[in-house]
């Protein structure tokens, strides 16, 4: 029997790692990967609470989070490709103007 708090602590650690990567990384793709890591941390707490409450609603929510994450990855990577075409860089410090 694993205590619920263990799952929540693991979820918090993953989310904090994602926030840290979002802040300290300068490569735009790595920043995107950190966002995915944060989403995964949140999904873990959804599933843990679903198992605790014996309710399947958490699983449905995780399903929708995955759908939104897939859509977000498609659009975000397209934006990254568009930025790379005009700027020839992936460093967010060099992309400091909205105008392409």
């Amino acid at each position: 029997m694993v205590p619920l708090s263990y799952y929540l602590i693991l979820s918090g650690i993953l989310f904090a790692c994602g926030v840290t990567g979002f802040l300290i990384k300068r490569n735009i793709i790595t920043i995107f990967l950190s966002i995915e890591l944060m989403l995964n941390g949140v999904n873990l707490s959804f599933v843990a609470f679903a198992a605790q409450l014996k309710s399947l609603d958490g699983h449905i929510f995780v399903f929708f989070v995955m759908v939104v994450a897939a859509a977000e990855a498609a659009v975000g990577l397209a934006i990254i490709i568009a930025v790379f075409r005009t700027r020839e860089t992936l460093n967010v410090d060099r992309v400091n103007l909205l105008k392409l």
Partner: protein, 172 residues
């Protein structure tokens, strides 16, 4: 047994997440994120969420990460360069951000579990003999109670596909 498996996969998970932060090359970061997602799928199986575990492997570790690796290789992204005194603020806020995030997480956990101390212990997750999150049960819920949100996600995916095509198209 569950506890030992949980600790093994949690250690792999945290190790992958820290490796994601430590690596300089985007490909290494992407591969360590795949490790994190794979071990998270095993943890979902421990929680009885069969459908979510399968989706985690197929959609996340499969489709989404293949897309990431494909784009990294398409753009030929090398090691990230450090520009001195470019965004020092974000770098300095990173480590305090990690500490603050962790403490907020521990605080929330200790409040939810109703324990005054750090929140170790608390209610245990009951592991039934049969997995209750099998695809049949989730499908029943998804196609009856949540049918309208499910159909709306198809429109969302359609918009995302069209947006990706428009954004990545070469301007003439």
């Amino acid at each position: 047994m569950h506890l030992a498996l949980f600790f093994i996969f949690a250690a792999i998970c945290v190790g992958g997440a820290i490796n994601l932060l430590a690596q300089r090359h985007p490909i290494s970061s992407a591969l360590s994120l795949i490790v994190v997602m794979g071990s998270l799928a095993a943890i979902y199986l421990l929680l009885g969420a069969e459908f979510v575990a399968a989706m985690q492997v197929i959609v996340y570790a499969g489709a989404v990460m293949v897309l990431f690796v494909f784009v990294i290789m398409l753009l030929n992204a090398g090691e990230e360069e450090r520009i001195p005194r470019a965004s020092r603020v974000a770098t300095m806020l990173g480590v305090p951000g990690l500490i603050i995030g962790l403490s907020i997480g521990v605080w929330v956990v200790s409040r939810i579990t109703g324990l005054g101390e750090i929140g170790i212990g608390g209610p245990t997750v009951m592991h039934g003999t049969e997995a209750f999150g099998n695809p049949q049960a989730v499908g029943h819920l998804l196609f009856r109670q949540f049918l309208l949100p499910f159909e709306i996600t198809s429109i969302l995916i359609l918009i995302a596909i069209m947006g990706a095509v428009v954004l990545a198209r070469r301007e003439e």
